[in-house]
Amino acid sequence: MSAISREDVVHLAHLAHIEMSDAELDKMTGELDAIVGAIASVSEVAASDVPATSHPIPLTNVLREDTVGQTLSIEEVLLNAPDSDSDRFKVPAILDGE
């Protein structure tokens, strides 16, 4: 039984905001299924008494001095923007207004 179906990949691509062609979806489904099959073995040893590690060298209470650091000018911030208008990023419509 395959772990990942084509419908799963359609859903995941939607969640990840990546448009995919039919051919891409087919290819990705096969590849992901093979990869997940190969890596699913981690659950074999993940017993309930083993604590999870999210960070290799945990540091706690990391705080910096409460001083003004490096800041960017509006020109620098907008330098790489695909679209901008009077000192602001210009964004496509959020809702479909048609």
């Binding site: 990942i4 799963d8 990949v9 995941l12 691509a13 969640l15 990840a16 905001h17 990546i18 448009e19 995919m20 891409e24 990705m28 590849e31 992901l32 093979a34 990869i35 997940v36 190969a38 890596i39 699913a40 073995s41 981690v42 659950s43 074999e44 040893v45 993940a46 017993a47 083993v50 604590p51 999870a52 590690t53 999210s54 960070h55 290799p56 060298i57 540091l59 990391v62 910096r64 001095e65 650091g69 490096q70 960017l72 620098e76 911030v77 330098l79 790489n80 923007a81 695909p82 679209d83 990023f89 964004v91 496509p92 419509a93 959020i94 809702l95 479909d96 048609e98």
Partner: protein
Amino acid sequence: MNELIKLSATELAAKLRAGEATSVQAVQAHLDRIAEVDGALNAFLHVNAEEALAVAAEVDAIRAAGGAQAEALHPLAGVPIAIKDLIVTKGQPTTAASKMLEGWMSPYDATVIEKIRAAKLPMLGKTNLDEFAMGSSTEHSAYGVTRNPWNLNRIPGGSGGGSAAAVASFEAPLALGTDTGGSIRQPGAVTGTVGVKPTYGAVSRYGAIAMASSLDQIGPVSRTVLDSAYLQELIGGHDPKDSTSLPNPLEGLVAAAESGATGDIKGLRIGVIKELTGEGYQEGVQARFNESLELLKAAGAEIVEVSCPNFKYALGAYYLIMPSEVSSNLAKFDGVRYGHRVLPEESPMTIERVMGSTRAAGFGDEVKRRIILGTYALSAGYYDAYYGSAQKVRTLIQRDFEAAFEQADVLVSPTAPTVAFELGANDNDPLAMYLNDVATIPANLAGVPGITVPGGLSENLPVGIQFLAPAYEDARLYRAGAALETLLEKQWGHSLISQAPAIDTASIAQEA
């Protein structure tokens, strides 16, 4: 070939200090070399000639004037360096080898770049990599593959194939890399160069475009162990801009490399990781590895076998944790504030659809694969089985290291299971590509440091030997690495890199 480019960074620095050459001459010699061979190699995505020469001229002027300012120069001042194009730089484009960031100009410098500027190392340019550092061959770059200087039909490793190829081909004496699962060490192994992944947090990640934040680490790339030690001391240390940065700098790295270079390693306990030898490792790789062990033993090291039984789950854990972090880190590429924007072919032109078409056009296949895999691993219903389990494996791998380091001061393994494979060999098999990192991934999962040093040739291609040390004990790597380097070079009568064939620039020009 200009003699200046054959020198190690340390040797070149000594010549500059002694006034036997100028930094401008050194930078120009490397720029000439880039002009000569990079058409064939494609190690550089951007060459920063003007600024590099200006910085070199500044160093030369300070030296010529003498006095306190000349005295205060960093030991590596005037020695040129190449920068992996995942690290952001003012004044030069940073692309991460992705269409998504084509032509992107960072408004700020990474902390390591600030340190390089302060020490006045001229930056030669930005080197090629797998897109967003995702790959083991530099074939996933949006700007063409980089070729291995030892054989132009072979991969230079990845993701830092550009930095490794630049250093191996004498285009640069030093380079910066980043290592998330082996991206400094595996390219070092297959190009016959030295590369170090420092302890997690020893070098600031501020300004390294994040792939998997709990695994990424910036580190040095060079032709000698001593050069990497100097470079790590330069770029290391606490950085308030990186909340995972270690509070204290790691010291004594250069001293450790110098001590190792005497070849004296009496009493050093070296643990051979049982799980990272034998099956899956090419015969030639295994043979060079065994020879290195014999040399180390003859020099007085105590060789012990250690077992890390959970390492067999490392690859699986890595390919769950890394894509999960990738899916989150790369969410910021949405075509709004910076980078590529691609409008959908048909209306409605809503932001959601613009994002979808932007990310479809801006990301390559491997990046998409990892984002989708990470989105899957983190989704409701699968989180505990995949991401949660992988985090537990991470704990088990740390415990394996702890137990192994009770029996040994450093651990050793081949850096990569094979020599450089042919370009295109793994095009249709992402899983086979992932196996290249089987020996390097455990260090990233546990946060411990690792080094690769050249261990000889198999099929006329370099083999790398990897040492691993406990967290914070990077100095041990430099001692063991320098010792092996010295012992091997004494046996061969030359360095490995001096045996690299001339680069046949004509062959690639004809193909193109």
